[in-house]
C-alpha cells in the first residue's frame, strides 16, 4: 500500500517538474553556467557552431562594424520567411500573378503586411549590403588574410542584386514588366559592339539573352516562371551557401579585423560588464577539430580581451536583428509596396525605369548601352575584386579610413567624385553629346567616348595621382572607391528624380509633358 502511494507521488512530482526538465534536456550539457560550458554550448550546437567560441571585445563595439553585416543577414532572413509565406498564394503565370497579388493585398489575412515586409526588407538588404561593403573597405578589413572573404562578399553583392532583380518581375504589373524589359535590353547591349565590329553572326548577345534570360522572344510567361525559379530556389540556395562560407571565413581568418593596438586601446576603456572569465581551471585542451593551420583559438595564451560568444556575441546579433525587423516593420505598416496596372506589352511605361539600384546604370546606358550596361559595371566589379590584391600594406587595418591619406583623402575624393559626376552630367544634359553634334559619328566612337567612360577615366586618373602622391596603393584605393561610391549616388539620384519621359531631363515631375 505504502509503495503504491509512493509511486503515485513520484509520478505527480515528475509531472510537475516536466516543463523545466524539457528545457534542460534540450541542451545535452544543460543550460551553461560556466565559461567552459558556454564554449561547449556554442561548439556543439548545430545551428551555432558557425560562430567562434570566443569573441574579441573590439569586434563587439558598435563603431567597429555598425552591425551592417548582421543587418544584411537579418534582412535576408526576413525576406526568406515572408517569401515562403507569400509562396502559398502567389501564382507565377502572367495576369494570374497580378490577380494573386491583389488577393494577397486585400484578402489574405496579414497578406498586406507580409508583402510590404518582403518588399521593404529586400530594399533594406540592398542598402545594408552596399553600406557593409563600404564599411569593410574603409576599415581595410579586406587585407591579408581576409582577401578571399572580400571576394565572397562581392559574389554575395551580385547575388543580392540578382535576387532583387528577379523578384522585381513577379508582381507582373507595368512597373515590373517594363523594368525587366529594360534590364533584359541592357543584358543584350554587347550587341552594340558586336554589330559595330561585324561579329554578330559569330557571337549573338541578343540570341543568348533571349535563350537564357527570357526563354522566349519577349518578356512573357517563360521569363516569369524562369525568374520565379531563380528567385525562390536557385539564388537563395546560392546565397545561403555563400553566406555560410562568408561567416566561416570570418571565423577562420581570426575574427573581424582589428587594429594592431586594439588590446591597448581597450585597456584604456572602462571594463564592460562581462561574465567572469573562468569559473574553473581548464581541465582539457581543445579538440583536434579546432586546430587549423595557424589561426586557432590560441592555446597557451590567455584569452585576454575575448569574451564568450554566448551570450555576448549573441546579444549583439539579436539586438541588430531585432532592430532591422523593427525598421522593416515600421516601413511596412506606414507605406504600401507599389502595384501599378496589369502589365500591358502594348503600353510602355514612359519613362520605363529599372529598380532604383540599377538607375545609375540606366543613366549610363542612356549614353552607351554597352559601356553603361556591361562595360563599366564589369570594370567596377573587377576593380573591387582586385583591391585586396593590389593593396598589400598593413598600416591602418581595422581603423576607419585607416592607411595613407585617411579621412582627409576620403573627403577630398568625395568632393571630386561628386563634382566630376555632376559636371559631366550637366554638360551632357545641357549640350547633348557626340551624336547630337556629329550625327554620322561611328558607333564605336560613342561607345568609347561617353560620360561613363570619361568619368571612369577621371576617377582612375585621380586614383593614380593619389598613389603617386602618397606612395601608397591604399591611398589610391581610398580615392577610387570613394569616387565610385559618390558617382554611383549622383547617377542614381539623377536617374531617380530628374529623368522623365523619353529619358529627358526635367527638374521635377510636375514638368513632365502630359499625353
Amino acid at each position: 500500500m505504502a509503495q503504491a502511494s509512493d509511486a503515485l507521488q513520484e509520478f505527480v512530482t515528475n509531472l510537475r517538474k516536466a516543463p523545466k526538465r524539457i528545457l534542460e534536456t534540450a541542451f545535452r550539457t544543460g543550460l551553461p553556467s560556466t565559461d567552459r560550458a558556454r564554449s561547449t554550448f556554442v561548439f556543439g550546437n548545430v545551428f551555432l557552431h558557425l560562430h567562434a567560441v570566443r569573441t574579441h571585445r573590439w569586434s563587439l563595439r558598435w563603431t567597429t562594424t555598425l552591425g551592417l553585416g548582421i543587418a544584411t543577414a537579418a534582412a535576408f532572413l526576413i525576406t526568406l520567411v515572408t517569401g515562403v509565406m507569400l509562396m502559398f498564394y502567389y501564382k507565377p503565370y502572367p495576369d494570374v500573378a497580378y490577380e494573386s497579388m491583389k488577393d494577397i493585398h486585400f484578402v489574405v489575412p496579414t497578406g498586406r503586411l507580409i508583402r510590404n515586409l518582403h518588399r521593404w526588407a529586400a530594399q533594406v538588404m540592398v542598402i545594408t549590403v552596399i553600406l557593409h561593403m563600404a564599411r569593410t573597405f574603409y576599415t581595410a578589413a579586406y587585407r591579408k588574410p581576409r582577401e578571399f572573404n572580400w571576394l565572397i562578399g562581392i559574389a554575395l553583392l551580385v547575388v543580392t542584386l540578382a535576387l532583387s532583380f528577379t523578384g522585381y518581375l513577379l508582381p507582373w504589373d507595368q512597373l515590373a514588366y517594363w523594368a525587366i524589359t529594360i534590364g533584359a535590353n541592357i543584358a543584350e547591349s554587347p550587341r552594340e559592339v558586336t554589330d559595330a565590329l561585324g561579329l554578330t553572326e559569330y557571337f549573338d548577345p541578343r540570341g543568348l539573352q533571349k535563350l537564357l534570360l527570357l526563354g522566349s522572344d519577349e518578356v512573357g510567361e517563360e521569363a516569369l516562371i524562369r525568374f520565379y525559379l531563380l528567385h525562390v530556389m536557385l539564388l537563395p540556395l546560392v546565397l545561403a551557401a555563400l553566406l555560410a562560407v562568408h561567416f566561416w571565413r570570418v571565423r577562420k581568418d581570426g575574427g573581424l579585423a582589428k587594429p594592431a593596438d586594439a588590446d591597448a586601446r581597450l585597456a584604456a576603456r572602462r571594463e564592460q560588464e562581462t561574465y567572469p572569465v573562468f569559473t574553473e581551471a581548464p581541465v582539457k585542451t581543445y579538440h583536434l577539430a579546432a586546430i587549423v593551420r595557424g589561426r586557432t583559438p590560441a592555446v597557451g595564451k590567455g584569452p585576454e580581451n575575448t569574451v564568450p560568444s554566448m551570450p555576448h556575441l549573441f546579444y549583439a546579433e539579436l539586438g541588430v536583428t531585432m532592430l532591422t525587423l523593427l525598421v522593416c516593420l515600421a516601413l511596412s505598416v506606414v507605406a504600401d509596396a507599389p502595384l501599378k496596372e496589369l502589365a500591358n506589352p502594348n503600353v510602355p511605361e514612359n519613362p520605363a525605369k529599372a529598380p532604383w539600384y540599377f538607375l545609375g546604370v540606366q543613366e549610363l546606358v542612356s549614353y552607351s548601352a554597352f559601356m553603361g550596361g556591361i562595360g563599366i559595371p564589369l570594370i567596377a566589379l573587377l576593380g573591387l575584386a582586385l583591391i585586396p590584391y593590389l593593396d598589400r600594406e598593413t598600416a591602418g587595418t581595422g581603423e576607419w579610413f585607416g592607411g595613407a591619406g585617411g579621412w582627409r583623402l576620403v573627403r577630398f575624393s568625395a568632393v571630386l567624385g561628386t563634382g566630376a559626376a555632376v559636371i559631366i552630367e550637366a554638360v551632357a544634359i545641357r549640350f547633348g553629346w557626340l551624336r547630337e553634334w556629329f550625327p554620322d559619328i561611328p558607333q564605336l566612337v560613342v561607345t568609347a567616348v561617353n560620360p561613363g567612360t570619361l568619368l571612369t577615366l577621371v576617377y582612375a586618373a585621380c586614383s593614380v595621382w593619389c598613389v603617386k602622391r602618397f606612395q601608397s596603393a591604399r591611398a589610391g584605393a581610398l580615392a577610387l572607391f570613394t569616387c565610385f561610391l559618390c558617382g554611383f549616388v549622383v547617377l542614381t539620384v539623377i536617374g531617380t528624380y530628374f529623368r522623365g519621359p523619353n529619358w529627358e531631363f526635367y527638374w521635377s515631375p510636375a514638368d513632365w509633358p502630359k499625353h
Binding site: L60, W62, E99, K102, D103, F106, V107, P109, T110, R112, L113, D173, Q174, Q272, E273, T274, P311, H312, Y315, A316, L318, G319, V320, M322, L323, L325, L326, L329, A330, V333, L339, K340, E341, V347, K514, H515
Partner: protein, 433 residues
C-alpha cells in the same frame, strides 16, 4: 553587453507593438468590418466575414458585397446601416453576375476607394450614378436603331397611340386586370432582346372586333401603316435602358461611323470605338476638360474640340450643339465597352450583330446618312465649314442634286474621292445597294 540587451529589449518591444497594431487594424478597424458590425438580420446580428460573388464565366471576384452586404445572394433581409440597402430590382441577378460587369470598379478590392476604382493605377473606375446604364454596353448591342428624329417619332407614336394604357414599359403605364390575373398586357420593356409576336397587330384587331366593352374597345384602335412602322422601330429597340437607346440614336445622327469603326462596321480614318468606353482615364490629358476628371467629361470635351484633348487630331467637332445631345453622345461612347465575353454570356443581340451581320442601325436612308455622312456633310446635308479643316461640300444643294445623276452619287459613295477626305465604301463588307 548591457547596451545590446537594451537594444534588443527596445527593438523587440517596438516590433511587438507594431505587430499588435497591425493585427488590431486588420481585424477591428477595417471599414468593411465596421459596416458589417452594424448589420442586423432577423436571426440577430450579422456574422462579420469577408463576402464575395465569384463568377468564373465572367472571370470576376466581386467583394463589393463585403460592404454592400444586402446586395449579396440571400442577404436581402439585412439592415441596420445606410449602406446595407438591397439592390434595386434589375433584370440581371447580382448574385449570379456580380457587380463589376455592369458597374465597373475594382471587384477584388476591400477598401472603398480601391473598390470604387477611383485610385491611381486602376484603369476602370466605377461608373457614376448618372451613367450607370453605360454598363449595359459591356454585353449588349441594340439592333436596328434609327437616327434621332425617327427615334423621337417612334417614342412619340407609342405614347400618342396610348399603348401604355395596357402595357408597362420601364416602370410606366399598364393596368391590372380588375378580375385578377395580372397585367392587362405584357411588359414591353425588353422586346428588343426577347422579341415579340410579329402578328400582334392582327391579333389586337381581332380581339377588338370580338370585344363588346372594356379596354379593347376603348383604348385600342386601328393604326396607320406609318405609325405601325414607327411602332416596330420602337419595339425593336426596347432594352430596359431607354436613355441608352436614345443616346445611340443621337450617335447614329452624328456621322461618327463615317470615320470610326464599331464592331467592325465603319470607316478607317479614326480609331476603333469598340472599346472606347474602357479608356484608362489615368492616361488621358484633363487639362482642358471642364468638370470632374472622369471619362465622360473627356469625351464631351473631345466632341466639342477634338484637338484640345488629342494632339494632332483631324476630327471635326461634333455637329450637335445642344448640351443634352452632347451629354448623350458622351454617355453612349462611355457605353462602348464590348470586351471579349465567355460564350455563355453573349446575349442574342450581340450574337446577331457580331456573327450574323445584323446591323446596329436601321437600314433606311436617313439613318444611313446620319450614321455615316452627317459628321462631315452636316446633319442637314449642306456641308460644313470649320476653321482648320478643308471644307466639306454640301450634298443637299437642290441645284447639285438636279444635275448629279444617281449613278454619279453611287459611284462617289462606292469609290470615294481619292486625294480628298471622302472615303470609298465599296470595300466595306456588306455594302448593299
Amino acid at each position: 553587453m548591457r547596451k545590446n540587451k537594451l537594444l534588443l529589449l527596445i527593438s523587440s518591444a517596438g516590433a511587438l507593438a507594431l505587430l499588435v497594431w497591425a493585427a488590431v487594424e486588420e481585424n477591428f478597424l477595417r471599414e468593411w468590418r465596421r459596416i458589417q458590425a452594424q448589420g442586423r438580420t432577423e436571426e440577430g446580428p450579422l456574422r462579420v466575414q469577408l463576402r464575395q460573388i465569384v463568377n468564373r464565366g465572367l472571370g470576376t471576384k466581386d467583394r463589393c458585397v463585403s460592404c454592400h452586404v444586402a446586395m449579396g445572394p440571400g442577404e436581402q433581409g439585412v439592415g441596420g446601416a445606410p449602406l446595407l440597402k438591397p439592390h434595386k430590382p434589375v433584370v440581371h441577378d447580382p448574385a449570379e453576375f456580380g457587380c463589376t460587369v455592369c458597374h465597373g470598379g475594382q471587384g477584388q478590392a476591400t477598401e472603398k476607394a480601391d473598390a470604387h476604382g477611383r485610385v491611381a493605377f486602376w484603369p476602370e473606375p466605377m461608373l457614376e450614378k448618372e451613367t450607370t446604364y453605360a454598363g449595359c454596353g459591356t454585353c449588349h448591342i441594340t439592333l436596328g436603331v434609327p437616327e434621332k428624329n425617327r427615334m423621337k417619332a417612334a417614342v412619340a407614336a407609342f405614347e400618342r397611340l396610348d399603348c401604355l394604357a395596357c402595357h408597362r414599359v420601364d416602370g410606366r403605364g399598364g393596368t391590372i386586370r380588375p378580375g385578377g390575373g395580372g397585367m392587362e398586357g405584357p411588359d414591353l420593356s425588353r422586346t428588343g432582346i426577347t422579341g415579340y409576336d410579329p402578328e400582334w397587330y392582327a391579333k389586337h384587331l381581332a380581339k377588338r372586333a370580338e370585344a363588346k366593352s372594356g379596354p379593347w374597345r376603348d383604348a385600342f384602335g386601328p393604326i396607320s401603316p406609318l405609325d405601325l412602322a414607327l411602332l416596330r422601330v420602337y419595339l425593336d429597340t426596347r432594352m430596359a435602358a431607354p436613355g441608352w437607346v436614345e443616346a445611340k440614336s443621337v450617335f447614329l445622327s452624328s456621322g461618327c461611323l463615317g470615320c470610326h469603326k464599331l464592331s467592325g462596321v465603319g470607316g478607317d480614318e479614326g480609331p476603333d470605338l469598340t472599346l472606347a468606353g474602357l479608356k484608362d482615364p489615368g492616361r488621358l490629358d484633363f487639362t482642358h476638360v471642364a468638370g470632374k476628371p472622369v471619362l465622360e467629361n473627356w469625351f464631351r470635351e473631345h466632341l466639342l474640340a477634338p484637338a484640345s484633348v488629342v494632339v494632332g487630331s483631324q476630327m471635326p467637332p461634333a455637329a450637335v450643339l445642344e448640351e443634352r445631345e452632347l451629354a448623350q453622345l458622351a454617355f453612349f461612347t462611355l457605353s462602348l465597352r464590348r470586351r471579349q465575353l465567355n460564350d455563355a454570356y453573349v446575349p442574342r443581340d450581340r450574337m446577331l450583330a457580331t456573327r450574323f451581320g445584323r446591323r446596329e442601325f436601321a437600314r433606311d436612308g436617313a439613318t444611313l446618312y446620319g450614321a455615316f455622312c452627317a459628321g462631315c456633310h452636316g446633319d442637314d446635308g449642306l456641308g460644313r465649314r470649320l476653321p482648320g479643316h478643308v471644307s466639306f461640300p454640301s450634298v443637299a444643294n437642290p441645284d447639285f442634286l438636279e444635275i448629279a445623276s444617281e449613278e454619279f452619287l453611287k459611284e462617289n459613295i462606292r469609290q470615294g474621292r481619292p486625294g480628298r477626305r471622302m472615303p470609298g465604301w465599296l470595300k466595306e463588307d456588306g455594302l448593299t445597294e
